[in-house]
């Protein structure tokens, strides 16, 4: 038994992004849910499964139930960091296949930009790390990057190529905030934050939210939207704190993606678009290696010469990603929504012609939690 090809994404929408225009985090969730339900041609009373994760609300599914007066029979607020929404797809598929719900909504909202400096994180500190002044999460990624450089000779200029490519994609996205190109020199001369990572090795800090509606492939036939099928999914985890990450350069993205590839019967060479969690340049680089697009240690040379930029052989994060489009704290909702846009042929100037198969991979924490989804506009 598998969830392969049992469910489809039938509604997908972003809330307003960048700045929240006076809306709360849950207000952005609600706005996105309404738009996603309209997209699917469904009403809120059709929703019987509720999936969400949040940095704001301790029990976010309950907040959402109350706020929208939605009364689900299946509730899941699994939180494994920024990749939670990818994991929710697998969980929703399992629940739908088991008959525990039929129409699942996955939702997210954050006002991280409007809150700047005021956001109180709910995250706990590990007592063995807390006294030393780490900045979460960038200091962990700084240590990851230095180790990758020491083991494989990766350079800051190679990492910068990832930010440069992201900006080139963002310039094809009318909603992205920065209309100017970025150069490798711009990145490596930007302020050093937590070495070896500079300001432009880091994602944007934005507001934003999103929602998806998922239902069975049978129910999807009765709806007007173009269904995007879930052909494979996988999850994995192996630590919480950077002190607990035994190998800083190889992650559980390997096992998560292998589970998803095996379920879908596909491999890295088959994807038309790829959406990876670029909270930092180094996080994207390590995922590209662990997802099998190049060998371990070769990510630096892989991303050179525009390979993942517009016109390159591997379209990665075609909306500009977290580095240059939108990153409200938990990015994976936007990775999923961009994959859906590509597979529906709705990505405008950045559309990859005839895109049929997309890979979405998210991480949570500092490469700690992992979730993978293989999506297609065709049945498996």
């Amino acid at each position: 038994m598998s969830i392969r090809d049992t469910v489809a994404i039938v509604g997908a929408a972003e809330s307003d992004v960048w700045e929240s225009q006076g809306r709360s985090p849950i207000g952005l969730m609600a706005q996105a849910i309404k738009r996603a339900l309209d997209d699917a041609g469904l009403r809120k009373d059709d929703v019987d499964g509720l999936f969400t994760a949040s940095s704001y609300y301790h029990m976010p599914a309950l907040n959402l139930s109350e706020y929208l007066k939605i009364f689900p029979r299946y509730v899941d607020s699994t939180t494994i960091g920024g990749c939670s929404f990818v994991s929710h797809i697998q969980h929703a598929a399992a629940a739908i296949q088991a008959g525990l719900c039929e129409v699942a909504v996955i939702a997210y909202g954050s006002t991280q930009r409007s809150d700047r400096g005021k956001l109180v994180s709910m995250a706990e500190w590990l007592p063995y790390e807390e006294p030393y002044g780490l900045q979460h999460p960038i200091s962990s990624f700084g240590m990851i990057a230095h180790r990758h450089m020491a083991e494989y000779g990766t350079t800051s200029e190679q990492l910068a190529e990832i930010a440069v490519s992201a900006r080139q994609w963002a310039m094809k996205n009318p909603k992205a905030p920065y209309p100017r190109p970025l150069t490798v020199e711009d990145v490596v001369s930007s302020r050093m934050v937590s070495s070896p990572l500079h300001k432009f090795d880091c994602c944007l800090v934005t507001d934003g939210g999103g929602a998806m509606v998922i239902t069975s492939v049978d129910r999807a036939k009765d709806l007007n939207s173009k269904p995007i099928y879930v052909l494979g999914a996988g999850e994995a985890a192996n630590h919480r704190n950077i002190l607990g990450m035994d190998d800083l350069t190889t992650t559980e993205a390997v096992s998560s993606s292998q589970r998803a590839y095996a379920m879908a019967g596909v491999g890295p060479a088959d994807f038309d678009t790829v959406h990876v969690y670029d909270a930092f340049t180094i996080s994207a680089l390590i995922q590209l290696e662990d997802l099998g697009f190049c060998k371990k240690g070769e990510g630096g040379s892989f991303v050179e010469n525009g390979r993942i930029a517009p016109g390159g052989e591997l379209p990665v994060n075609t909306n500009g990603g977290g580095l240059s489009y939108c990153h409200p704290g938990m990015l994976s909702m936007f990775l999923l929504l961009e994959a859906v846009a590509q597979l529906r042929d709705e990505a405008g100037e950045r559309q990859i012609p005839d895109a049929q198969l997309s890979l979405v991979h998210g991480m949570g924490g500092a490469l700690a939690g992992h979730a993978t989804a293989v999506l297609s506009n065709r049945r498996g």
Partner: protein
Amino acid sequence: MAATKPIPTLRGEEKVYFEEAKNGRLVYQLCRDCAQRIFYPRTVCTNCMSENLEYVASAGKGTIYSFTTLHVPGHPEFADDVPYTVVLVDLEEGVRVLADLVDCDPDDVKVGMSVEVLFEAVTEDFTVPRFRPSAQ
């Protein structure tokens, strides 16, 4: 003058670890049933789940597995300290610890560098292990 440094709220085995640090001992655990060496201290062995664990003092020598130098303080309490370096250290006994690195120019820090532990009292009641380049 920056604000007071963060003092973690300690529970259970976390208290033991920092009590030992106050006595100048950097401790890890040894499983008496399977010989697994464990850091940070647990209630059960990460290998065999035995509770039969003993605290052992490390010699405090190791090499830098990786590091980052903060040029922007992680918290307002560290505003006066930038730039400062946080290291992951592989101790000779085979466990990895995290602390900051002192007495070393940030430009001179390298993966693989030999370091040794020292202890510094943050308050009368709370002492932290730190590292510095090895003496030789």
